[in-house]
């Protein structure tokens, strides 16, 4: 097919999913996949029941439990004492059974944070539209999918119609060119972007991340970036699929061409490939051919553009109570004069107080009480490898409690195969079961009032990890270093033991 107007990646995916554009009403957009978890789904199912409506496409829905699942021990997951969590998880089981939705339950090999398992299972694919009642659905955009979070009534809408009425968002390309300096990661790129454009900087837009520094990232790194698009206010984030994307997807359980999938190979490969002889190459190649068209045409235009030189970036740490309050490890807590507006000055003042920090304090001088390694932002195998490399041969500072919560069963299994769990445990980290855990301060994974946490998650709002808790966002390697020294530490000068 030839088309005269050059189109962006977003426009291609959007147009392929337009069911109809009724005059004077929003576009009706087809949704390829809805991911379901225990917290935002119960009332959507109930709404279906109430209206006596069928769920249109059970095979386009996949569910797991993540937000409320205890991560302390297998036993605690099987006998959940928190009554609200227990009720929500039981409701999800019943709803999935009633409506014929595949559920990956607490102890299934495929269980994990909803945004981890979509890619791991190969459910997430280039060019798809994906929704979930969770704002970090933007993660799946790393594969060139259009993926965004929705509210409970919209969840019900998708269950009933497999569509959503949507107004077309604007487009915003962020091009990151050049080579990342050692010690600088995908997390630092996205924190830097949020710091530049602000937490509402991309409101109403879908961001496309482009440029050589993005192309050079692994799928894990790309997911970290797309995940936090929402922290920049964006509706979604996308990265065009390429050889890295295809290599990641090939042979995954639900990828095109995969046949006779054995669960044992899922566990073995950290959720990845089935043996090569069980892939129908012709089918796979056809899919790759289709996906390869999903790139922004030369001369396509965006509503906004921003260019960043990767070689100028440094490891980032947030100092305040919004992801936009971020600086680099070698800097100091900004002063009021650094605030961009009067409103920002007010929130700076409030943040100094809440975070108990004074402007001018060197970031490296800030001590931490807790370290959390995990979440859908940085709970992947590559993140755990990077952190383990830092930790190896050291011990957690006596003043720090540190935990690793793998994002999924597959990641946990893979890490254990590689011996990462032993490195963490002998360094004094807790090694947990998979789930959201301290990302959202789920009991008992919670900060005490006044406690300061170095966290690889995505939100540092007041009280996010527990009432009065103080959260600093950073990369996995930086979090690991802080756990060892007891204060923020520049990973670029770290002495690795191995």
């Amino acid at each position: 097919m030839t088309t005269s107007t050059p189109r962006t990646l977003f426009e291609k995916v959007w147009q392929q999913h337009v069911v109809t554009e009724p005059a004077g009403e929003p576009t009706i957009l087809y949704i390829d996949l809805q991911l379901v978890h225990e917290v935002t789904s119960p009332q959507a199912f109930e709404g279906l029941r109430l209206a006596n409506r069928p769920l249109r496409h059970p095979e386009r829905h996949v569910a797991t439990v993540d937000h409320n699942v205890p991560t302390t021990s297998v036993h605690d997951r099987l006998v959940i004492t928190d009554q609200i969590a227990d009720a929500q998880i039981k409701a999800l089981r019943k709803n999935c059974a009633d409506y014929g939705i595949e559920l990956f339950d607490v102890q299934d090999a495929e269980q994990g944070i909803v945004h981890m398992i979509g890619p791991e299972l190969g459910l997430t694919k280039p060019g798809m539209t994906i929704v979930c009642g969770d704002s970090h659905t933007s993660t799946h955009g790393a594969f060139g999918a259009l993926a965004f979070g929705i509210g409970t009534s919209e969840v019900e809408h998708v269950m009933a119609t497999q569509t959503l009425p949507q107004d077309k968002p604007k487009t915003f390309r962020i091009t990151v060119d050049g080579e990342l300096p050692p010690g600088v990661t995908a997390k630092d790129i996205i924190l830097d972007i949020i710091g530049r454009i602000g937490t509402d900087g991309a409101t109403g837009h879908v961001i496309e991340y482009a440029g050589s520094a993005i192309r050079a990232l692994s799928m894990e790194g790309r997911m970290t970036i797309c995940n936090m698009s929402i922290e920049a206010g964006a509706r979604a984030g996308m990265i065009a699929p390429d050889a890295t994307t295809f290599a990641y997807l090939k042979g995954r359980r639900f990828s095109p061409g995969t046949k006779n999938y054995e669960l044992s190979s899922f566990a073995k490969g950290g959720g990845s490939a089935s043996p090569a002889d069980t892939i129908d190459e012709a089918t796979w190649n056809l899919a790759v051919e289709q996906w390869s068209a999903l790139v922004t045409d030369t001369n396509a235009t965006f509503d906004r553009e921003l260019a960043i030189d990767a070689s100028t970036l440094a490891p980032s740490v947030t100092w305040g109570t919004s992801p936009g309050m971020v600086t680099t490890i070698d800097a100091t807590v900004p002063s009021l004069a650094d605030a961009r507006s009067e409103a920002d000055q007010k929130s700076f003042s409030r943040a100094y107080e809440y975070m108990d920090l004074k402007p001018g304090t060197p970031i490296e001088a800030i001590k931490v009480d807790a370290v959390f390694l995990g979440s859908c932002t940085n709970g992947r195998i590559e993140d755990l490898r990077a952190a383990a490399k830092v930790v190896d041969g050291y011990h957690v500072a006596t003043t720090v409690r540190a935990m690793v919560v793998p994002g999924s069963q597959a990641v946990k299994h893979q890490a254990e195969q590689e011996g990462l769990d032993r490195i963490f445990k002998s360094a004094g980290f807790e090694w947990r079961e998979p789930g959201c855990s301290m990302c959202l301060g789920m009991n008992p994974d919670i900060l005490q009032p006044g406690e300061r946490c170095a966290s690889t998650s995505n939100r540092n709002f007041e009280g996010r990890q527990g009432r009065g808790g103080r959260t600093h966002l950073l990369s996995p390697a930086m979090a690991a270093a802080a756990a060892i020294t007891g204060h923020f530490t520049d990973i670029r000068t770290w002495k690795f033991n191995k």
Binding site: V19, A51, R53, E59, Q88, G122, S153, H157, A160, F254
Partner: protein, 211 residues
């Protein structure tokens, strides 16, 4: 949603302005996982005695506890009904209790939209008209009102006749029992056509493996 055209029913008078959603449904019921079963929580605190030796027991003077108002499908209230928090639970509770319409001089915005999503008819009449209806239903609990959505009128057997305004799109939705989902399903032929083609695009299916 059930389509609705005319509704003839007795009415329960609640002669207060600014009835907020916290009163309609208190916050402790927001933790539930269900969308149904809110009928017993409607006006939870008002339905119970708040003090004295019988605290917690039904308050016999509250209109919904009076047997003569059982089965009323119309609620009468004063201005700014449904103000406060955005909780859709308020509309669920009103609907599930059995009210199909609320008549008041004005409604809060978010409640207005939530009620629409749940198929509740909201009728705006003048202060004087609402006053008259409240008096008649208070004096005679068996007093019946008829709301005609098609004609946009409220009438009774004693010669009361009032007209009300309603957005044509919302009227269309109520008459045809369409909620947002229903509206989308109006395009079902287009959806079916889209799907029959789209299902072939296996590279965009969640489960594209060879089972």
């Amino acid at each position: 949603m059930r389509p609705i055209n005319t509704l003839t029913s007795t009415a329960a008078p609640l002669p207060l302005p600014n009835i907020d959603t916290d009163q309609i449904i208190p916050k402790q019921f927001l933790k539930r996982i269900e969308r149904t079963g809110y009928e017993n929580f409607l006006f939870y605190d008002w339905r119970r005695l708040q003090e004295g030796p019988d605290a917690g027991q039904p308050n016999p003077t509250f209109v919904l506890n009076k047997p003569e108002y059982k089965g009323a499908e119309i609620l009468l209230a004063e201005r700014n009904f449904g103000c406060g928090s955005s909780r859709e639970h308020a509309a669920w509770a009103i609907n599930q209790y059995g009210f199909r319409a609320v008549i008041a001089p004005s409604f809060a915005d978010i409640f207005f939209s939530n009620a629409g999503k749940n198929g509740i008819i909201l009728v705006r009449l003048t202060n004087a008209e609402v006053e008259t209806l409240i008096q008649r239903s208070t004096a005679n609990p068996q007093h019946k009102l008829t709301i005609s959505l098609e004609d946009q009128t409220v009438t009774d057997a004693e010669g009361f006749h009032a007209t009300f305004d309603i957005d044509p799109f919302r009227k269309h939705c109520l008459l045809n029992g369409l909620d947002d989902i229903g509206l989308t399903l109006l395009h079902e032929d287009k959806l079916n056509a889209y799907e029959s083609n789209h299902q072939k695009e296996f590279w965009l299916s969640p489960k594209a493996n060879i089972a």
